[in-house]
Structures are given as C-alpha cells and as structure tokens.
C-alpha cells in the first residue's frame, strides 16, 4: 500500500522516532509503513489521520481500488 507518510512527516519536521513516539509504536513500524512493507492496522491508520488532520484515504493509497477504478 502506497502512502504519503514521508512527505507528511517532513512537512511537520518530524523524525521517524518522533512519529513513533507520538503514535506509541516502534520506529521500525514507521519505517516499514513508509517503505510500503507493512500495512498499519485500522486503529493505527486512524491515529495517523488524527495526527496529520487528514482523512485516511488521503494518507494511504489502496493500489487495488485504483486498479479496479481504471479497469
């Protein structure tokens, strides 16, 4: 799953460690999500949404739904 976490984190001038502390997860979790190697749980996705004040679908991009729309 693609996401804009890295860009959003940069706009807020936060490090991965800062974001991890704010969301009570490990830095590895943030790193893995940013790289698209791990999909966050729904509660964690809501935490991102609240922190960045954006809807979940603006942070995370479900490639499958995009493929379905274009098909």
């Amino acid at each position: 799953m693609n996401n804009k976490l890295k860009e959003l984190r940069a706009t807020m001038k936060m490090t991965q460690a800062d974001l991890a502390t704010a969301l009570e997860v490990s830095r590895q979790t943030i790193n893995a999500i940013e790289k698209g190697k791990f999909d966050p749980s729904l509660p964690l996705a809501f935490k991102f949404s609240r922190l960045f004040k954006l809807p979940i679908e603006e942070i995370f991009d479900d490639e499958e739904s995009i493929d379905n729309k274009s098909a």
Binding site: A17, V25, S26, Q28, T29, A32, F38, S41
Partner: protein, 141 residues
C-alpha cells in the same frame, strides 16, 4: 536501564516490548531448566517417593502454564509490526515441526530409524522460531 536495553531502544524497539520479552525469556529459561533438571533426576533415579515425582511434575507444569500466559501477554501488547513478525515466526515454526515430524515418521516406520523425542521437537521449534524472527525482521527492514 542496562546497556542491552538501551541498545534495543536505540534500534527503535519499544521499551514495553523489551520488558515483556525479557519476562517471557526468563520464564522460558525457568521452564527449560526445570524440564532438564527434573528429567535428569528421573534418569538418575533420584526420586524415592511418588510425592517427589508429583511435586517435580507440578512445578514444571505450573511454570509451563505461567510461560504460556506471559508469552500471550507479550504477543498481545507487542508493537503491531513486532506482533506480525512473532506470529509469522510462530506459524513458520509450527509448520516446520509438523512437516518434519510427519516426514520423519515415514522414515521411522519404513527404515526403522530412531524414534523422535519431545526434546528434538522443542529444539526444532525453537530454532525454526528464531530463524522466522530473523528473516521476518530482515524482510521489513
């Protein structure tokens, strides 16, 4: 906080996970030591009464039950990426044990190979679990 815990935190792990993992490891060590100690005592015929045998069995069983709950707490409270790595590693280790034991049972019956003991199962489970964790961590790095 000791140097090991600080090194884990510097690597990005959550302090609560480190604490829970250390508690689970301590109980796992206690479980393994009681298993080895009680089995060794039985081999040496040190038990002279049924009460001692029951006491040894009860201590090992109690530590085993505690270990199950401590490990469950560790998995339940773990950081979500860590939980995924641990559960994937558990699934892998259970699969390895089932496949290796079922395959070996064919050899055991057809070629009269030595019987597999529970201690071998524990070793295979532990090693494959550790391999699963290492591979899981590398995959999400």
């Amino acid at each position: 906080m000791n140097k090991f815990e600080q090194a884990c935190i510097d690597k990005g792990l959550v302090p609560k996970d480190i604490k829970n993992a250390n508690i689970a490891n301590a109980w796992a060590l206690a479980w393994a030591l009681t298993l080895a100690g009680i089995s060794y005592a039985a081999d040496q015929s040190w038990y002279d009464s049924i009460a001692v045998i029951v006491a040894g069995f009860a201590i090992h069983l109690a530590i085993g039950i505690k270990l199950v709950f401590v490990f469950r707490k560790f998995i339940k409270e773990a950081d979500e990426l860590e939980r995924k790595i641990q559960l994937d590693a558990l699934a892998f280790s259970v699969g390895v044990v089932i496949v290796s034991f079922s395959s070996y049972s064919i050899l055991e019956k057809s070629l009269r190979m030595p019987e597999l003991t529970p201690s071998i199962m524990i070793v295979i489970l532990s090693v494959s679990y550790m391999v699963g964790i290492v591979v899981g961590r590398r995959l999400v790095r």
